[in-house]
Symmetry: C2
Subunit: 393 residues, 2 copies
């Protein structure tokens, strides 16, 4: 055998999103890019805010000794301080800079968190549908994912989570606003979860961590606010990314924020720093650390995404599609008009429309539309969507 | 138990380098930074070359659609193409862009390589002394490190490596120019290793990969050239970083280069891309990928490091220290005048000199000096070094 057996098996399964993306590249060559409606990837099409561009230009010219040198493993103190202050101000919490560890995006953050937490066979509860990479992030550290269905409106099913918790449960992993559903868990839903984890922790005499993946926390619509996980539950850890807030997913900058009251806090903070180092991240990119320190209040204009959502939702509803209107993120999770979502996705492909089957997210019978694309792509795709659903009748 | 057991145990052992660094911070506060001679960390003190600064300023201002968006997992094609061409031109090889995968520095590259290669219990042979993080990088993927001593001049002991190879051997990991010794393996030494791995591979009917960690490959002195590992051995994989060549270790940019003739090549390339994604790196920082594409011929002025080496070597030789003069990198690995290197490091501490005990690198009886510091730090430390060795007599 050449490469690791587990990796070889994962390659052959590969990501459905990636397959769609490759299919799209072939189609774009064949038909022309404007004739292909590619909703497969969550690669934001909005430019970073002007403040970011300005800071980058300033910083590029600024003379700072060893500007591009190693940073402390956990990140620059001024960056971590700025983040702690922002969180404290927004939610009335008491983080200090030690509770913030800079990371290479939320993906890097989640890997560092799970390497820090998981012993072999430890279980992580993941509500479905879920972001496709989660099972890898848990399996990387020999953890076991326990999937739990959400309610019909994609809210957390507290009873189902309760039933899934056992002696091996180490953490629950949530993602709100959610990829792929756009769901934002309500304050009530989060409070119920927090109460459950507190009770179960006492009952089982162990700490159950709540890991919250929050790259979309500032991409929300209709004036909604996202409940603070750090405020709701003591044993909480947040993985954050600037990828969507500042539209710079390629630059790999985010952070881990740890509740100051968390159990085994000192061990955990030390573990997060050690794992950042030994996993090879070493430190989050230095230049981006310097920039985000100054951009705690900057964000892309979410109204641009909201408009896209509205055009899409209106068009699809008119065509007869059924879905929960997303409250955040830039994904719409639509019911497939036929039970086999993979089959329906192939029908859409014939209309030059690329979406991802819900099966890839643990949500069979649905498909995901990533609407972080040009308005024209959305508008021009609507006739194809309508034709496809009509062909199912 | 709170955090993972293995991580908790690693925290308590912690890195000797880091301990020295922390000790140094305390001492600098107490005595003033100019009174403390800190040789503990390999954080280059040379600024990036002017070409880098110019490119960064240009790129910051340039308008490119989705400039900071996700890149392909393996990296931008133009960057990978530029790197493949540079390697081909330098060594007469035939890499194409698919043989190059961008990474978050060499540390990220090595993690991706070992996750791609290692099944549980697979062995990786590591010559001693070694870079302190290697055992973590192998253990992260349940591999087992087999340490093999080098010769007295720190060249590879081919017979010792031969004796260490067995049914479980998956790879040999080398690092030339070496941290902590500054050794550059000769062409003869590399050719002997390549012959051995080819023979052993046939004998055991398996592929033994040669993984070459090369962040210092362009930091060499006295006009020496570093033999090309890709040219010397078919089953070779290079982990490269721009951290030292361009003096930007905080920006986390490097690459993996794979020999085009490597066995199981398609599986391996797919595995490297998959592992880049699922380990959470996702892609190497986009901005830096764009910059290094244009800077394939840029490098810091190594004469600056060479001068530091010469001042240091001359001063220490005069004081009576014994060492192999480094041919590359910016480390000097010095024999401790007393057998207990940790004890001698403590003696140097009393002279306000911070170095790292060789024991931390699997090289007891030595200590490491990282001479990527101001010339004045070196010069002003020499009396302290002399006093310490005299006290041992």
């Amino acid at each position: 055998m050449s490469v690791a057996r587990k990796i070889k098996s994962s390659i052959s399964k590969s990501s459905m999103i990636r397959k769609m993306f490759e299919e799209g590249a072939v189609m774009k060559k064949k038909y022309g890019a404007d004739k292909v409606f590619d909703f497969s990837l969550g690669n934001p099409n909005i430019e970073p805010p002007d403040e970011f561009k300005k800071e980058l230009i300033n910083l590029a010219a600024e003379i700072i000794p060893l500007k591009h040198g190693y940073t402390p493993v956990a990140g620059f103190t001024q960056t971590r301080q700025a983040i702690a202050e922002k969180i404290n101000k927004a939610h009335g919490l008491k983080l200090d800079l030690d509770h913030v560890i800079m990371s290479c995006g939320a993906a890097g953050a989640l890997n560092v968190i799970f390497k820090s937490l998981l012993d072999p066979e430890d279980e992580v509860i993941v509500p479905t549908p879920y972001f496709v990479e989660y099972p890898f992030y848990v399996d990387n550290y020999r953890g076991v994912v326990k999937f739990v269905k959400t309610n019909a409106d994609f809210s957390l099913d507290i009873k189902a989570i309760a039933a899934a918790i056992g002696d091996n449960t180490k953490a629950v992993l949530i993602n709100s606003p959610n990829n792929p559903t756009g769901k934002v868990y309500s304050q009530q839903n989060i409070d119920d979860l927090a109460r459950l984890l507190t009770e179960k922790g006492k009952e089982l005499n162990k700490t159950i961590y709540l890991v919250s993946d929050e790259p979309y926390v500032e991409i929300v619509y209709d004036g909604i606010t996202v409940p603070s996980i750090l405020k709701a539950y003591k044993n909480s850890i947040v993985a954050y990314s600037y990828s969507k807030t500042l539209s710079l997913p390629g630059e790999r900058i985010g952070y881990i924020a740890v509740n100051p009251e968390i159990e085994h806090g000192t061990d955990l903070l030390n573990a997060l720093v050690l794992c950042t180092r030994i996993l090879g991240f070493v430190n989050a990119p230095a230049l981006m650390q310097r920039i985000v320190a100054k951009l705690q209040d900057a964000a892309v204009d979410v109204k641009v995404y909201q408009k896209k959502r509205d055009i899409l939702c209106e068009g699809l509803a008119k065509a007869g599609y059924k879905f929960e209107k997303p409250q955040g993120a830039f994904y719409l999770f639509v019911q497939s008009p036929i039970p086999d979502d993979v089959e329906f996705v192939k029908m859409l492909l014939k209309k030059n429309i690329l979406v991802v089957p819900g099966s890839g997210f643990g949500g069979p019978g649905y498909f995901r539309i990533a609407f972080c694309v040009d308005d024209a792509t959305i508008t021009n795709s609507l006739p194809g969507f309508a034709e496809a659903i009509n062909e199912c009748r």
